[in-house]
């Protein structure tokens, strides 16, 4: 043991020790150091545990549904339970996983670091958002046990059913309202941090792409989320006061509910996918040892997706009875959104071209992302074209499509981010072999799960149905099999990561050879993130130093 003079020790401790050892605000101990913290890193981790919990719960619900559908007729649950289950699966996966996952965990943890600063602009508001998130989750749990039980409307809460059903819609939409607040305030915090706390040497075109994608996302969070808030308030008012704003015989128009709902919920899919794209834009260049191809194009496409994504909401409503003119207009606009997404895929692939690629679990998961997301995007065009959409509307094809984007896209980006930043967040390295096994199993399971569903949808199997005709049995069985493989793979990845926490904290500060600022500081980062003032590179993806260093080591 080394004994130092206590003054000196204090000074060194607070500056260089990891944030796990230094509570913020100072003087808090034990559980209070977490529950009352203002530290963006601690909050990121707190989000992580909550979100992982919800993800596993919703994944198991999905697995139970798939098990039910593996054979015809009743297998393990009745139809009412099934209806509640797909609602619950949707609500949790959307509001408690896909929307908060990447911004709330990795955004909170890494956005300030990538901007070269010590925290977000409103640290206390950040803590408040976390509490809102937890309360929203609690409300969702309450709604299971109070009143008429969990709603059976699906996560879309379409009127008139959501107004008339016995299920406890009011509590559930309150939960979604609170979660929306949390998401909106996180976005607000990020935008303010982006503008006011960015390192003074960092110009706009020197900002890492992950942060750019979070910035684009944050604007969607601020501007689109209130629409769903007011829509859910209206649903509650309809339930309690029966105003009739969406009831035709009282002069209302039920289609307007759908318009309002998708005015948020379509931009929301970009809240889910944009940060995922940002993660991939970080990982691909690092493991290709090559500067990202088309940095500016990716930045512009992020902003373009955020803008264009707000113009296309009614493509969810082609068969709902809205006017033909709007079907035409929204179908046309939908195709425009495909362009910036394609620009990104093109840039990632071009980055890898002639790069010196080094395989690792994060890169492997990113490659899965590119493949699965591309399938999701292309099937989206099938749905975006009004003609073909009529055929596959509300079938398993739609379900498979958005799972390709949301799980194959956001989900795999989330796994990739976990594997990429895990050593930085905890200072431990995990074992690669189980990570690969889990990733391969998850990707294979995913394909087995959702490709049959695409085919089933083309054959006419409707979504949200409890039972089906005999000719759909093979496809459903295969999908169920894939689901088990998928869940097993995901659990292997998670368990492998959790087991690594028992290892000593020996991960180097830059295990992958990354160039963004988070790799220039110790793992796990110290309280104020930077011990010495950060040095801002002229271009954030300049690998010349990293390559030169590895060439020296090689000789």
């Amino acid at each position: 043991m080394v004994i130092m003079s206590s003054d000196l020790q204090d000074g060194i401790m607070t500056e260089t020790q990891s944030f796990f050892e230094t509570p913020s605000p100072r003087g808090l101990t034990g559980v209070k150091a977490w529950l009352l913290t203002h530290d963006h890193k601690r909050l990121g981790l707190m989000y992580m545990w909550a979100i992982l919990f919800w993800f596993v719960v919703a994944m198991i619900l999905g697995l139970l549904m798939r098990t039910e559908l593996m054979s015809q007729g009743r297998t393990i649950m009745g139809p009412e339970v099934y209806n509640s289950m797909f609602t619950l699966h949707g609500v949790i996966m959307i509001f408690l996983f896909a929307i908060p996952a990447i911004p709330a965990i990795f955004g909170n943890f890494f956005l300030p670091i990538q901007l070269g600063t010590d925290d977000v602009f409103f640290p206390r508001l950040n803590l408040f958002s976390w509490y809102l998130f937890m309360f929203g989750g609690l409300f969702a749990i309450f709604s299971l046990f109070f009143g008429g039980g969990f709603p059976d409307t699906g996560w879309t809460f379409y009127v008139p059913f959501s107004v008339s059903t016995k299920g406890n819609v009011s509590l559930t939409v309150t939960a979604a309202f609170i979660l929306g607040m949390s998401s909106m305030l996180t976005g607000l915090n990020f935008v303010t941090t982006f503008h006011r706390m960015r390192h003074k040497d960092m110009a706009l075109m020197q900002i890492p792409l992950f942060t750019w994608s979070l910035y684009a996302t944050a604007w969607v969070q601020i501007l689109a989320t209130p629409v769903i808030s007011i829509t859910f308030v209206l649903v509650m008012m309809e339930r309690f006061l029966a105003i009739g704003l969406f009831e035709p015989d009282k002069g209302g128009d039920p289609l307007l509910y759908q318009h309002l709902f998708w005015m948020y919920s379509h931009p929301a899919v970009y809240i889910m996918i944009l940060p995922g794209m940002g993660v991939i834009s970080e990982i691909i260049p690092v493991f290709s040892r090559k500067s990202i191809f088309g940095y500016k194009a990716i930045v512009i496409s992020s902003m373009a997706i955020a803008i264009a994504g707000s113009l296309v909401w009614a493509h969810h409503m082609y068969t709902s009875g809205m006017s033909d003119v709007s079907v035409f207009v929204f179908s046309l606009l939908t195709f425009i959104v495909a362009v910036p997404s394609a620009v990104k895929v093109f840039s990632w692939v071009s980055t890898m071209y002639k790069g010196s690629i080094q395989m690792s679990p994060p890169l492997f998961l990113s490659l899965c992302f590119i493949y699965l997301f591309t399938v999701g995007g292309l099937t989206g065009l099938v749905l975006g074209a009004a003609g073909t959409d009529i055929h596959v509307h509300d079938t398993h094809f739609v379900v498979a499509h958005f799972h390709f984007v949301m799980l194959g896209g956001t989900g795999f980006a989330f796994f990739a981010a976990l594997h990429y930043w895990w050593p930085k967040m905890f200072g431990v390295m995990y074992r690669f072999r189980p990570a690969y096994i889990g990733a391969v199993s998850a990707a294979l399971g995913f394909v087995f799960h959702f490709v049959p569903m695409l085919i089933l949808g083309l054959q006419g199997m409707p979504r949200r149905y409890y039972d089906y005709l005999p000719r759909y049995e093979t496809g459903n069985f295969l999908a169920g099999f894939g689901a088990y493989l998928l869940v097993a793979g995901v659990l292997v990845m998670f368990v492998n990561l959790l087991l690594s926490l028992r290892n000593p904290r020996t991960a180097p500060s830059n295990p992958w050879g990354g160039t963004t600022l988070e790799w220039s500081i110790p793992s796990p980062p110290p309280m104020e993130n930077f011990i010495e003032p950060p040095v801002i590179k002229g271009f954030p993806y300049d690998f010349s130093e990293i390559v030169a260093r590895s060439q020296q080591d090689g000789r």
Partner: protein, 95 residues
């Protein structure tokens, strides 16, 4: 470090002038509502309302003296609101 930048003080006189303008516009919009112009009543009323809103924004809310971030982001918000209402009419107006 940024304290010197935001010391823009609007005098009572200037604020009062804005208030007088606002009250005059209010009187105008009420007066105009008694005149029957058919279709034109609504656009006129909304134009006056927008004028009033601009006055409140620019002077009471100091938007005139804010930096580009707030200015442009405010315009984007208005733009998004216009899209919300406008694009819904692709459906409603042609049904």
């Amino acid at each position: 470090m940024k304290t010197t930048e935001q010391t823009h003080i609007l005098s009572y006189g200037k604020l009062a002038l804005v208030l007088v303008l606002l009250l005059m516009l209010t009187g105008m919009t009420v007066a105009v509502s008694y005149v029957h112009m058919g279709f034109w009543n609504v656009p006129v009323a909304l134009t006056i309302a927008s004028l009033k809103a601009s006055l409140v924004l620019l002077f009471f809310m100091h938007l005139k003296y804010e930096g580009p971030v707030i200015r442009y982001s405010f315009l984007s918000t208005v733009f998004f609101l216009a899209i919300m209402i406008g694009f819904t009419f692709w459906d409603v107006a042609f049904r």
